[in-house]
């Protein structure tokens, strides 16, 4: 394998891996914070792409501003979704409602939310695929290796968002509360903190990350109402590979799956996706909690 091909494959892996990382970080924050397995996460990603299309292409705003607005809009959509669906549902839970039953009901509610968002998008934007011309069309040629600037920007923005997220979660009081809620919400409540708004914030933050992922990827791919369905399945696999509740695991899982798909496709063809499933099975057998996560109930 030539060095040029190697670098090209790495760039491809990092691009797709970084999008998985953003998706799964959002999914994980929601799951840990609110104990909701959010199947509508893919639709939030899709909505992020449509919101970027609206701000960047239709309203001709600056790309960075359009991306920020995309994240902010999805945070709002996420918060409203939590207040309108999951908060209402959780009021019906009693002390005797088991954790697995809560998880199941929340997951079912998220499937309903998924359908609402999907059909709502179809009604608003129609079924047709839409394209966004990349604001970074340049090709970087380094010693004969051609790398699209769009891909470099995607990787850079993803790293930036991850750093920002780590700062928020580990260096701020708000982040510490969010993490505390994910371990023991009752104990946090006993400290005099209103956990309800923390739950809302978790859902909003997770949704914002999905929206940012959709917005970042929109200029590279096309924007379609079905784009969320394609990524959510792979995101759950990355979550299992990396381990639920581990940010480092999520990053490791995203990169590993990205590399596996990129190199696997080059040398094995379409069968490469099968190896992701095999990897998940192997990890679940030998490390049920994922690469860097912990096996919990």
């Amino acid at each position: 394998m030539s060095p040029g091909l190697f670098i090209q494959l790495i760039v491809n892996a990092l691009t797709i891996g970084s999008i998985y990382i953003l998706m799964v970080l959002g999914l994980d924050i929601i799951l840990r914070g609110t104990k909701i397995l959010n199947f509508a996460h893919g639709q939030l990603y899709m909505l992020g792409a449509y919101v970027l299309l609206l701000f960047f292409q239709t309203l001709n705003l600056n790309f960075a501003l359009a991306l920020i607005l995309s994240g902010a809009t999805l945070a709002l959509v996420g918060a409203l979704s939590y207040l309108g669906v999951f908060a209402v549902l959780s009021r019906r839970f009693t002390v005797s409602t088991t954790f697995s039953y809560r998880l199941l009901l929340s997951a079912m509610a998220s499937v309903g939310l998924m359908m609402i968002l999907q059909q709502g998008t179809l009604l608003c934007f129609g079924t047709q695929e839409r394209g966004i011309l990349s604001p970074f069309p340049q090709i970087i040629d380094v010693f004969g290796v051609r790398i699209s600037l769009t891909r470099v920007v995607i990787i850079f923005l993803s790293i930036l968002i991850c750093i920002g997220l780590f700062f928020l979660m580990y260096k701020t009081r708000f982040g510490k509360i969010m993490r505390a809620v994910s371990y023991d919400p009752e104990a946090v409540t006993l400290q005099g903190i209103n956990t309800f708004w923390i739950f809302v914030s978790c859902f909003a933050l997770g949704s914002a990350l999905a929206g940012l992922a959709g917005g970042i990827i929109a200029p590279l791919f096309s924007v379609t109402p079905s784009m969320g369905q394609n990524i959510i399945f792979m995101s759950f696999l990355v979550l299992l590979v990396g381990g639920i509740g581990s940010y480092r695991g999520t990053i490791a899982g995203g990169l590993l799956v990205g590399l596996l798909l990129s190199f696997g496709f080059q040398f094995l063809g379409g069968i490469a996706e099968l190896f992701v499933f095999i990897l998940v099975i192997v990890i679940l057998v030998f490390r049920p909690g994922g690469l860097l996560g912990e096996a919990t109930e």
Binding site: L5, Q8, L9, N12, T15, I16, G126, T127, Q128, E129, R130, G131, I132, L133, P137, I139, R146, S148, R151, L220, F221, S222, T224, P225, S226, M227, N230, L261, S262, F265, Q266, G269, G270
Partner: protein
């Protein structure tokens, strides 16, 4: 006594029934009014299934919604002196076998249609054959799969040119680029993609072009960078895209190859939807694309093509050519009914299979041909006029037009047998 009364009433009703029927059936006098049932237009129900998720389906739906009312307003269809207006029922087939089967079942079993026209994708069409053939439903459809025109099908006709435009297209390619000797096919991994990749490889090999690889991708793929990287390692002179939806996804393929540094020739038997393609990729990525071009965009388009484009712009605003490949099925159906002079699907099929039919649509002239190479002896496939162009310096340049007869000859040479 009561039983005898009931018996007598029943007997009277039975005796009167033929009289009542006779009176209704023969209103000899007074003379029929102007709007008598015999001259009143009847309804001919046509079914159609299309993917509502891409421009091929959406634009074909728009086209039918524009053409059918205009056709009815112009007098509709007259068969044996009876006028018929057409009612078109269109369902989403999701471009999948499951979706296609469900939509066709609904058309045949619930809506009771006897004719289906203008379907786009092979997967839904082939899946629907299991319903339409036993029900003797006449199908005029697009789709590339050879299964559509298989000898066992008696009521199905392929009216798009996907199976017959390769033989005329490839000699043009080798003439324009004589040094291009190797090719890679990039196709969707479904019925359409696999059927067309096999056909393209066959024609290319016959012309001395070596097919380095057939690479297949799932129909909903958006990230073509891994494919482009693999293709660059193979380094082909020609890139072929059999079965691609020539809209946004086509653009993503060009973009990925352009970013990976591909500078060879592109060939496509499909007309690219430039609005969608150029929404995702720069013009430079399409350089050296030889393809069929819309018959509305040639230097001297036919009156029919000009009118179609003008009507489209008047109704929908921005012009899109994506429907042009699929609407000939509607015109072929109309001509078939006129020639057979019956609305009976079985009689039309018998007529067509033995005699074929010719038509003119906004996409040019077309005719049904036989496919002896596929062991069929009925008229079932289509040779049509083809307009070719090459994308150079950011725009299409017209290369030339072949008549249906010239297309027929090129196919007879490539595949063998007498097709007419």
């Amino acid at each position: 006594m009561r039983r005898i009364c009931i018996f007598m009433v029943l007997a009277a009703v039975l005796a009167a029934t033929p009289l009542l029927i006779a009176c209704n059936a023969a209103p000899a006098t007074p003379p029929a009014p102007v709007s008598a049932p015999a001259t009143e237009a009847k309804i001919l129900k046509l079914g159609c299934t299309l993917p509502f998720t891409n421009s091929l389906g959406i634009d074909t739906k728009k086209a039918l919604e524009m053409l059918v009312p205009a056709f009815n307003e112009a007098g509709g269809l007259t068969v044996k002196g009876q006028r018929y207006n057409i009612d078109i029922i269109i369902y989403d087939d999701k471009y999948t076998a499951d979706g296609g089967r469900a939509a066709v079942e609904r058309l045949v079993n619930e809506d009771k249609v006897n004719y289906i026209v203008c379907q786009v994708g092979s997967a839904p069409i082939v899946a629907g054959l299991a319903v339409t053939e036993p029900a003797k439903v006449l199908v005029f459809c697009g789709g590339a799969s050879g299964k559509i025109i298989a000898p066992q099908n008696k009521y199905t006709y392929g009216t798009a040119t996907w199976r017959t435009n390769l033989a005329p297209l490839f000699p043009l390619l080798t003439k324009s680029f004589p040094n291009a000797k190797t090719m890679v096919n990039l196709s969707p991994d479904d019925e359409t993609g696999k059927a067309l990749a096999a056909d393209n490889a066959k024609v290319a090999t016959a012309l001395g072009i070596k097919v380095l690889d057939n690479i297949f991708y799932p129909r909903d793929t958006q990230d073509f960078a891994p494919f482009a990287t693999k293709i660059m390692v193979l380094n082909p002179d020609i890139m072929d895209y059999p079965g691609a939806v020539a809209g946004t996804q086509f653009g993503l393929q060009f973009k990925a190859l352009y970013e990976a540094g591909y500078k060879g020739v592109h060939v496509s038997p499909m007309q690219p939807n430039l609005i969608e393609v150029l929404a995702v990729t720069p013009k430079e990525s399409m350089e050296n694309l030889i393809s069929i071009i819309p018959s509305t965009d040639v230097p001297n388009p036919s009156e029919m093509a000009k009118k179609y484009k003008a009507d489209w712009v008047a109704k929908y605003g921005e012009w899109s050519s994506a429907s042009l490949n699929w609407i000939p099925a509607f015109y072929a159906f109309i001509e078939a009914v006129k020639k057979a002079d019956t609305t009976d699907a079985e009689a039309i099929a018998t007529y067509l299979s033995a005699n074929g039919v010719q038509w003119e649509s906004p996409n040019g002239k077309g005719m049904l041909v036989k496919r002896p190479d596929l062991k069929g002896d009925r008229f079932c496939d289509t040779c049509a006029s083809l307009d070719f162009g090459i994308f150079k310096n950011g725009k299409y340049e017209y290369l030339g037009t072949l008549s249906p007869e010239e297309s027929l000859k090129a196919n007879e040479t490539a595949f063998g047998g007498t097709w007419k």
